[in-house]
Structures are given as structure tokens and as C-alpha cells.
Symmetry: C2
Subunit: 193 residues, 2 copies
């Protein structure tokens, strides 16, 4: 099979996966690849496994691996875009898998206010929170302090926990009564429209 044909079929699989949420069966791949025999498909699948794009479970069912839903990570802004030829070599990265390490404890909150603007967190950004994680000095946390919710830097001053904004127009918060850290910010996501 030519390299171009193989790449085209990977794209077809990727499209099917993102549309159907699963990999096609062998018969479905026959239609997809315009071939009439499952044996032909089986050879393609073997090649996919060689390239670490899919896996097989114990019953022979296909599990997506390198072929998942994310975007290609291709380099840096300075280096610019790779040529079309290099593109295919790059890793596909699922943003879900990349950002979310603890599925059950992760939440998204929309940012309101500009108290963390100097940390590059703007109003209407989304922050990914991991609940129950122990915050370290300098982490950004979402906390309930004196019955109000806020997002700030988690800092220690003289053995006492304080919450520092990343905006010089706001004061550092020294909790009077109670400080409940609800979660640690593990990622920031901003989408442009």
C-alpha cells in the first residue's frame, strides 16, 4: 500500500472516530476504504498497530490510541508551521487527556472578575479545577473565604495562609474566619469566537 493511501485511510478513520465516537468494524472499513474483503482490512489494521495508532483488546476489538480526537502538536510559534510533509509525523494530542488527569475530581469554572489578570487569566476564561488537591505555595486556588468565593494565589505569610490577587488594584485577602480551598487551578482555557 502506498504511503499516501495509508495516510488517507488514517484520516478516514479519524473522521469516523470523531463522528461516531468509536472505530469502525472490519466490514465498515471495507466500505470506508472501498475494498471488498475483510482480509485486506486486516492487513491495514496490522499496519496501524505497528505504527501504534490503535490497539487490540483481548477479544480483537480495536481501541484508539494515537488516533484520538485532539489536535496535532507541531512546534513553537517562533519555528512556525511545519511543511505539509512533516505534519503527519506529529503527535496527535487529546486535550482532554492532556489537561485532565483526575476525571472524577475535575471541574470547569468560568472566570468572573479581573483579579487574576496579571497571571494571564481574564474574565470569561475557563479554569480547570482539581478538587481536593493539596495546594502549594504559589498555586492558584478557588476558595471560599468569609462566605465569598474567589480565585487567588495561595500564599503563606508568617505561617498563615493568605490569598493574593494578580492585580495591583485588589488587596491581599487575610481570612478572618474561615478559609476553604475548594480546588486548585490546573489549567486555563480561553476560546475566541
Amino acid at each position: 500500500m502506498s504511503k499516501e493511501t495509508f495516510q488517507k485511510r488514517i484520516t478516514q478513520l479519524r473522521t469516523f472516530l470523531s463522528e461516531q465516537g468509536r472505530l469502525p468494524s472490519y466490514s465498515e472499513m471495507c466500505e470506508l476504504f472501498k475494498v471488498k474483503s475483510k482480509q485486506a482490512v486486516a492487513r491495514v489494521v496490522d499496519k496501524l498497530i505497528e505504527h501504534n495508532l490503535v490497539e487490540k483488546d483481548s477479544a480483537g476489538r480495536l481501541i484508539p490510541k494515537g488516533i484520538k480526537g485532539g489536535a496535532r502538536l507541531v512546534g513553537t510559534v517562533q519555528a512556525g508551521f511545519p511543511s505539509a510533509a512533516e505534519e503527519e509525523l506529529c503527535d496527535i494530542m487529546s486535550l482532554d487527556d492532556f489537561l485532565i488527569t483526575n476525571h472524577v475530581a475535575s471541574f470547569l469554572l468560568k472566570v468572573s472578575g479581573d483579579s487574576m489578570i496579571e497571571a494571564g487569566i481574564q474574565p470569561d476564561d475557563l479554569v480547570l479545577l482539581e478538587r481536593g488537591k493539596q495546594p502549594s505555595k504559589g498555586d492558584i486556588v478557588v476558595a471560599e473565604v468569609d462566605h465569598e468565593w474567589t480565585m487567588k494565589y495561595y500564599e503563606k505569610v508568617g505561617g498563615k495562609t493568605v490569598l493574593k490577587p494578580a492585580n495591583k488594584n485588589y488587596p491581599t485577602i487575610v481570612p478572618k474566619e474561615e478559609l476553604v480551598v475548594a480546588g486548585v487551578v490546573t489549567a486555563v482555557i480561553r476560546k475566541y469566537h
Copy 2:
């Protein structure tokens, strides 16, 4: 079936999905749910479809819908965390699906330099680019200008395209020879470690 049992089973499905990359078959759900009959599973599936968590394709195979890999979107920072009781009601959002609208034309680049710092884009952030999209005034673009790659605001001054940084220490770029817009920034992603 009690509400708690149902929620537990949704969690089991979600775990299976994120581990195996697919939804379990009816027999596998029998083991997963600790029941012995597929009829029992079929009723659970019907309930999942009612709640819009999964779909069935024409052949009866299950397609994940509301049950996908993302994180729960639960509100705003000001409002804080919902109570544990409310949590389950929230939408699960796949970050892949949310951020990436055009799979084949989307790429990730790592940001180098601080020329967009005032737009909340810091060094080592990731930007999601859509290649080939027509930029509008005010969009952030990655472009090759006079043989160098850079990320800037896309602006028009007197009918001519210029690239403005979001950092007052950098000058506006007026392209001398050529300006090639490689892609428009559609999202910014920052991960803390």
C-alpha cells in the same frame, strides 16, 4: 432502579469509556453492573438514552454522547462550587469537541516570547490554531512576515495589514515584503504543573 445505583453505573461507564476508548457491550455491562441478564442491561441503556447520555446507531451499537471524556462545567468562580447534590446535573464537556471545530485544520503551537502578554498569552502557553481561516480585524494570528514567524494581532491601518503586539515594549510590524497568515488563534491553553 434507585437514583444512586443509576449514577454509580454512569460513573462505571465513564471509567470504562476513558480506559478502553469505547463503550462496553451488553455482556460486558453485565459484569460491570454485577447483573446476570442482558435484559436488565437493556433497561439501563434505555434509561441512558432517555437522559441523552448515549445514542444508538442504526445497528444498535452505542455511541457516547453526554458521557464523553471531558470535565463538568459547573458555574462561575463567583458562584463557587455547587453542592455535591447538584454536581451530577451539570453538563460534561469534552474539551476536544469544545475547542476544536475543524479537526483536520487545527494545530497546537507552543508560545515563545512575551509579545502577546497583555492579551493574556504567556510564554509556554499552547495556542490552538486554525489554518486557512480568513482572519478578521482584531484576531490573533500566527504569520510569517519577512521570513520570520510571529504571533500578533491582525489589524488594518489605511487599507494595509499590520501586526500589532500586545506588549508596549514591542513595535507594530509593518510587513516590508511578504505577509503570510498561517493560521488564526482560536484558543489558548495553559497547563500548570
